[in-house]
């Protein structure tokens, strides 16, 4: 039977993030309903009260693990050097950029740039030609289906405006 003796200590720091966020959000939520009519308070106080209680139980449990040396306040289960190696941090940066600039550059161009940049980061720069081709194909397919065919109100920019003018003038 394998022994737990050499089992690495539990990374409680990472596990505490959600309960801490939950407690902070619940307290903020309570502050917004403190002087409100009872209809706005009743279910929030019931749900928030239970949430605070289970978070308190978790904090006590985490404290016991820490005291017993079964856990540490490390956050290794959330952030590691692997996040840089696998390109996760790079993907996060490109994702934030995608959301920030899609309104300015438009769906098609921004999708192409995002796909190409993200795939290149994840592929560590390999297959650049294939990635550029597949990114362009995906972005153009998205444009053709969602904007040209379905006329959805996806964010529009230079490319969409140009194509609209081209198609309108035959």
């Amino acid at each position: 039977m394998p022994s737990d003796h050499h089992k690495p200590p539990r990374q409680i720091g990472g596990e505490l993030v959600i309960p801490i966020l939950a407690v902070g959000f619940t307290i903020y939520f309570f502050s917004t309903i403190w002087n409100s009519p009872w209809t706005a308070q009743v279910s929030a106080f019931i749900v928030g009260g239970i949430l605070l209680l289970v978070c308190a139980i978790f904090f006590v449990r985490a404290g016991i693990w820490l005291v017993r040396g079964e856990g540490t306040l490390g956050v290794g289960n959330l952030f590691t050097m692997d996040d840089i190696r696998t390109g996760r941090i790079g993907l996060l940066v490109t994702t934030i950029a995608y959301v920030m600039f899609i309104d300015t550059l438009g769906f098609t161009l921004m999708t192409f740039l995002f796909l190409a940049a993200s795939m290149l980061i994840l592929a560590k720069g390999k297959n650049a030609g294939f990635i550029t081709m597949i990114s362009a194909a995906m972005a153009l397919t998205g444009w053709a289906v969602f904007i040209w065919a379905f006329d959805t109100r996806f964010p529009r920019g230079w490319f969409e405006t140009t194509m609209k003018a081209v198609l309108a003038n035959g």
Binding site: G14, E15, V17, I18, P19, L21, A22, F25, T26, Y28, F29, T32, I33, S36, P37, T39, A40, V42, S43, A44, V47, G48, I50, L51, V54, C55, I57, F58, N77, L78, D82, T86, G87, R88, L91, L92, T94, T95, I96, Y98, V99, I102, D103, T111, F114, L115, S118, M119, L122, A123, I131, I134, M138, G142, F150, D151, T152, R153, F154, P155
Partner: protein, 504 residues
């Protein structure tokens, strides 16, 4: 059913089959829009409204119904293959569908889902057709008190999901319920927990929450692996055998399909309730009364059958109040109402007297759509399952790009894309630290509904909490709810004792 009704049904059935050239492409369209979060049958019919209005009545009807059914089924495909439910109605599908895909059983899982959806949809269409006058009255009996218990049936799934680590599961579930409380209260419209952001006054929109919690967070997790299928998953060369295996597994559990689809039908009949509630309730009930509840969440076929047959049962359910009472049971049914009224169709009790072919035609269109869907989609499962073998370096960015922008579609606020990203970060933290994202999502979906019915009940009774036990049907549902919680525990203890006896 008299002979004239039977002859109308037969006539309409064959007429509807004649519209196969509309049904087949619509099914393919429905699979696409159902599979992309943010799109749905409802907003596709709106987008294609000029086309729908230009078609003649029968063609328009067949188009809308086929799109409705196939979009419902399509939502389950990405839920199984990449852990991204296309709509909130498929939010319970990945609980067991995705583990199957990771084990290299994606093709089987798709086949199971298609069979459960088609049989569930077809069966409930027949039941709805036969029991329309009775079913139509269900909506009258389901008031806010009764709806509270229905919501609790779904919310109790949090406890099941939390079984492995109860404290963490409850934190995730109740955090979801708190997030679901964001927005104005339903009685006095007092803003709560909105951080002063106007876009949150209507509450947290479901699609950005779903996109973030499932799709974005999943994309950031899967890049650790080369492909979605686990290294220890079965080696995969797609073959017809897996599809037939999936069909066999599903058909073997036909009783399961029947009763979970009936749950969907009954919930679908209630105006305002929807596929998400039905699929959570069906999953929870399926797990509660299963002989192998411990297998749920690990890739158990029954855990996949339950939500899929239930959410397809909802489709026929929503048509009942629409046709018989003129009250749409959901968003898609409401849009159908508008289109049909444009064509001069007036819904209500007189519909089956004045225009019986239209009334029965809608159910026949649904039945024919399910039959054609079964024949056309099932063979595709072999090819669809290839998604799980696409390298994640290509798949993850595609998931992020097309789902994030899908978060924008329902309300067309740029804010919703930021919100989806924020939920993505929350989902990623939750996944990495052992909190269940499905528990958070259940809270976000069902929390506001529960609060709404709870406040309505209290408002009607001047704050008397005993109103919750004031109706006969409500009390019956309370007893059923208590039994659904207690009986599985009793059965589990009995099974444990039975298992321990030979060891003694």
């Amino acid at each position: 059913m008299d002979s004239s009704t039977a002859s109308i049904l037969v006539e309409v059935f064959f007429e509807t089959i004649g519209y196969w050239y509309i049904i087949v492409p619509t099914i393919l369209l429905g699979l696409i829009v159902g599979g992309i979060p943010g799109f749905s049958a409802a907003n596709t019919i709106i987008i294609l409204m000029p086309l729908t209005l230009a078609l003649d009545l029968q063609s328009g009807l067949v188009f809308m119904i086929s799109l409705y059914c196939s979009a419902r089924m399509g939502a389950g495909i990405p839920a199984i293959l990449v852990n991204i439910p296309g709509t909130a109605g498929a939010a319970a599908t990945p609980l067991d569908g995705y583990p199957m895909a990771k084990q290299g059983k994606g093709q089987q899982a798709l086949a199971i889902s298609f069979v459960a959806s088609c049989i569930g949809g077809l069966l409930t269409t027949i039941i709805a057709l036969a029991t329309m006058p009775i079913l139509a009255r269900v909506g009258f009996y389901m008031h806010s008190v009764e709806m509270i218990v229905v919501m609790l049936f779904g919310i109790s799934l949090i406890a099941s999901i939390a079984a492995q680590d109860m404290v963490k599961g409850l934190i995730a579930g109740f955090l979801g319920l708190m997030i679901g409380s964001i927005g104005t209260d339903v009685v006095y419209a007092t803003p709560r927990g909105t951080f002063g952001i106007l876009e949150l006054y209507d509450g947290v929109p479901l699609i950005p929450a779903l996109v973030g919690l499932f799709a974005v967070s999943e994309a950031f997790v899967i890049i650790e692996k080369r492909v979605i299928v686990n290294h220890d998953g079965e080696p995969k060369t797609p073959n017809w055998g897996d599809t037939f295996d999936g069909v066999r597994i599903a058909l073997k559990r036909w009783v399961h399909i029947v009763w979970t689809s009936i749950i969907g039908l009954v919930i679908g009949v209630i105006p305002g309730a929807g596929a998400s509630i039905a699929s959570f309730v069906a999953y929870q009930q399926s797990r509660s009364f299963s002989k192998t509840p411990e297998l749920y969440g690990t890739g158990h076929p029954e855990g996949l059958i339950a939500p899929e047959s239930a959410n397809n049962g909802v489709t026929s359910g929503t048509l009942v109040p629409l046709l018989v009472l003129g009250i749409p049971g959901g968003a898609t049914a409401a849009i159908m109402l508008v289109v049909m009224q444009f064509h001069g169709v007036s819904f209500g009790p007189s519909l089956f007297e004045n225009q019986p072919k239209v009334g029965y035609g809608m159910f026949m269109a649904m039945a024919v759509s399910y039959v054609i869907m079964f024949l056309t989609i099932l063979p595709l499962s072999r090819y669809m399952s290839h998604v799980t073998t696409i390298p994640t370096i290509y798949l993850a960015p595609m998931i992020i790009a097309f789902t994030l922008v899908g978060g924008f579609v329902p309300r067309e606020y740029m804010f919703d894309m930021y919100l989806a990203l924020a939920f993505g970060v929350l989902g990623y933290i939750a996944r990495r630290t052992g909190y269940h994202v499905a528990a958070i999502l259940i809270g976000v979906i069902l929390g506001p509904l529960l609060e709404k019915y709870f406040l309505w009940s209290l408002k009607k009774s001047d704050g008397d909490i005993m109103v919750l036990f004031s109706s006969t049907l409500g009390n019956i549902l309370w007893v059923a709810f208590a039994l659904s919680i207690i009986l599985p525990i009793v059965f589990g203890m009995r099974r444990k004792r039975k298992f321990e006896v030979p060891a003694e």
